[in-house]
Symmetry: C2
Subunit: 168 residues, 2 copies
DNA sequence: GTTTATAATGAGAACCATTCTCATGTCAAC
DNA sequence: GTTGACATGAGAATGGTTCTCATTATAAAC
């Protein structure tokens, strides 16, 4: 559950936090921004919603509902789903479709940083890729090449499918 | 339901078939290949499975189960789901995740041709993009730039999210 | 500090896409 | 035409997600 995000091309993974040491707390400015967005939709930033944001911020990858419930057992399932929906409506959280039958949730990109996804075919896990300038350049070119005049492009998804380190 | 696939960059959409004229029949060679793949998994190419392949081949975009059932009402729902599963196992059909809660199904790329997807945020429809060489070049570069040493890449997904012609 | 209005919570029921069950139908080989 | 194996159809079961409603927490007004 420690924050680990792939830096492609480097080959050296970010070292995981030592066992027993909690991941660093979420930037207070991010919390303020979340509170602001909830306020815009007339919602409160309650302790449980705060807990959800913490869990997602510290995971460094999109989480399924079972994973979320495991890391904060004080949440009842219905409340967790309802609050995720609230956070999505406020533009704080994004739903990502993975491989299995569970949806996956992560913080919106403008809170967590722009990134893409690695999807593991065997275990279904999804991890983040923090893009290099070279990757972003290539993707910008791809979007331009793909965008016809018949479709208004708002965003793009780029995902790598394969098998992750644990599954090899 | 007529076969229409976007050719990006051209700006001129493929004209739809006149109303009342059926879409062209599926290439017999493709049917033979499907039969072969089913035979490999010891499955028969029944008329209902043939109907499913026809529907998917002629739609030119990934279809939801309700859409499939609407275009061939002779299929019972359970049989349709079971046969789609059989076809997926035989490597004939691929499941695509769209926006809504319905899964979407399409023929495998080696039967329908390599392509990417446009996902409409308002109506949820998914249409195919037949890639230009320029797009493919950019994507190849992107995959190379993204592939670190820690993840074995098997394939990649590239999707454009926005609003389609009908929804603007 | 108490009251009051409103929103949030929790347990469980409801919903719905998908899968499973089982009785029946169909096909191919002998 | 008998036999055996697979395919089909109707409906039940499954499971992720959403809804309901009674209870609790919160913020503002007094």
């Amino acid at each position: 559950m420690a924050a680990t995000r792939h830096q492609p091309g480097s080959g050296s993974a970010t070292p995981a936090a030592p066992v027993g040491i909690a991941a660093p707390p979420v930037d207070p400015a991010a919390h303020r921004e979340v509170a602001l967005r909830l306020a815009r939709t007339e919602q409160r930033y309650t302790p449980l919603r705060r807990a959800l944001v913490e869990v997602m911020a510290q995971s460094g990858r999109p989480l399924t509902m079972p994973e979320i419930l495991r890391s904060s057992p004080e949440l009842s399932q219905s409340t967790a789903y309802r609050n995720i929906a609230t956070l999505i409506e406020a533009g704080v959280v994004r739903r990502v479709s993975g491989t299995g039958d569970h949806g996956r949730f992560e913080l919106a990109e403008d809170l967590s940083g722009h990134h893409h996804h690695l999807v593991c075919l065997s275990c279904g896990k999804v991890s983040d890729i923090v893009p290099t300038p070279r990757l972003e350049r290539a993707l910008r070119e791809a979007v331009e090449a793909a965008a016809g005049s018949t479709f208004a492009v708002i965003e793009h998804r780029f995902e790598l499918i394969g098998s992750c380190t644990d599954c090899r």
